[in-house]
Symmetry: none
Subunit: 203 residues, 4 copies
């Protein structure tokens, strides 16, 4: 729509570049445009033509996942159980973030290289915000939680799962941590005493 369709060969190269980048992301290698070019058997210039910066490429790699998340979110809006809808959306989000390194990088970044990314992030935030609002309205979620908190919290959970957890168990760990966040570490009716004290004093 927005851009003219690429020529066939250019399109093939574009795909190659993104595919290589995807592989690099998956194997945890930092994205370097020269590196991508070498692996894709293309000139550096070609890569730079398609992606002016490494971030632009990373965001392109992440885009489909962001879109899938957004799509899922839209579906979740149709769920008439607000709690389940929100929890499902967050679960999906977390699983994606833990599975795909491009996502965590992109969602954590304060600025975007591509307008499309900004757009997707806004959509995601908006969807999350709506799901949250409904859950709030239904009284199933604490009232002091805002849509601004959702992304950081998800990033945090994903980060937690990536710290010390071996790849094999990451998704599982992430789900556990999300469960803990949703239900709380503490048993709720366990007494009237404070959670965090603010000044950290224990005695």
């Amino acid at each position: 729509m927005t851009t003219a369709p690429l020529r066939k060969d250019a399109a093939r190269n574009w795909e190659r570049i993104v595919a290589v980048a995807r592989d690099l992301v998956d194997e945890g290698t930092p994205l370097q445009l020269n590196d991508v070019a070498r692996r894709a058997h293309l000139g550096v210039g070609t890569v730079y033509r398609h992606f002016p910066t490494a971030d632009a490429l990373l965001e392109t790699v992440a885009a489909p996942c962001l879109e899938a998340l957004a799509a899922h979110g839209e579906q979740a809006l149709a769920d008439d159980n607000p709690k389940r809808a929100l929890a499902g959306f967050l679960t999906h989000t977390i699983e994606a973030q833990v599975t795909d390194a491009s996502l965590s990088a992109v969602t954590s970044a304060p600025t975007d290289a591509l307008p499309r990314t900004t757009e997707l992030k806004l959509t995601l935030r908006s969807v999350g915000g709506q799901l949250l609002e409904r859950a709030c309205a239904a009284g199933v979620v604490r009232a002091d939680l805002t849509s601004d908190d959702l992304v950081p919290l998800m990033c945090g959970i994903a980060y937690a799962a990536n710290v010390h957890a071996v790849p094999a168990t990451r998704v599982e760990t992430a789900r556990r941590y999300l469960g803990m966040l949703l239900e709380g570490l503490c048993i709720q009716n366990s007494g009237g005493d404070p959670a965090p004290t603010g000044d950290g004093s224990t005695g």
Copy 2:
């Protein structure tokens, strides 16, 4: 202890290096040994002699904070309110991590450059484990939480507070997020339906 006490001038250099490194960490500058040397008005070689790698220096910078945390944890063990003890310890930990960039780096790192760091991290884990155990025993904390989860969760909370939150509000944000984790995002008696579904399906 393990090493012979440094000569007076060497000791002074050591202090200088660590002080400079502390400053760099605080201003968010990545630790580069050349940089440290220049600012400390010392030769690079001197810095390398004291700290073979940047990580060793970083861990040295972080050590006092880790010790302070451990000390606090020991005190907390004396608290007869297990929930308060644990919450206070976690609050302390989070505040430290958010405030001090060296801490988050060191606690998140899978391996350590210095044995002392490993030792401290173990102590911390052990203290946390004990506090957790007591809280568990008192039934104030969910049973599926293990001492292995504490560090990742704290790192996650700290990370969450660092994403998108401006420095000025970070500590406050981190406290909020810790509160949410402890109490749960969801209102507890709000229905029988599941939190995360595991397969993420919403309908």
Copy 3:
């Protein structure tokens, strides 16, 4: 003449390219064929077809000015005051060179990309030579000045005006410098001692 007339669309492209190049020259941007193509909304290949090198394009841009200068020179030949004729011609030349960056580049260049340019430069040289000859014959110009000196001297004056003089005052400065060159920096009857000594000794 030498080449078949261009097809209408090709001619339009040619014009577009030259116009864009003119703009780039005027804004002081170095001529890059890719750049020209982009601004002209044409493919690079098209630009390369019309102008095999950046110099060829530059010379094409400069050609009309060179022609105008030549035309002026021809007119000056009709002036019956040899001194005025020469001075006028030089003034014109200088003004053009200072005003139009393409000119200084082309006139200073030792070799030409286009035969047309060589032709024009020869014409100009010839006209200058004739004007000079007349002035010499009339005894109003020093005898050791040859037609070979005219172009370098004009380039030099233009260069002088471009060094350190802000754009706004360049033409004025160039005129002043030309005046100085014509009349001499030194007061003529001011004594019998030498101008440049050749070995630079001051005594």
Copy 4:
């Protein structure tokens, strides 16, 4: 004075770098730091350590010549013949500029990389200004010539001599052109009509 004396090996490298740069300048090769490093059989880093930019190196190469010119200028101030003093100074300047490509580059540059260069250029300007003032006072130089004009005019003459003149004759040509500038192209008492007309009209 200002900087600590270099270690012997560093000093040797410094010399090597400057010598190589001098050669490159003399053979008309553009100064590239990597290139310098290769020719000097040194690591790039070494060159960058000594000279942060190519301009800094160029100015270092030019410095001795600038100093020599300044020294000559000081001597010229002692000459009791103001015209000869000025002419000698200008001749020297021109010869140096034509002979040494580093000089023309440095004197024409609007900004300097090294403070030392700025200093030298100021000295040179000041000396020129004084010589000019004396010549003016003695009535041997046109009154509308200011010290601001000296540098541009000398750069212009040097440029003129470099245009089209083959290296072998450059110095000679430059001297001739300087002579012409000093004495004027026109025979002075050759009539009352104007030199440049300002509008360039020839009648």
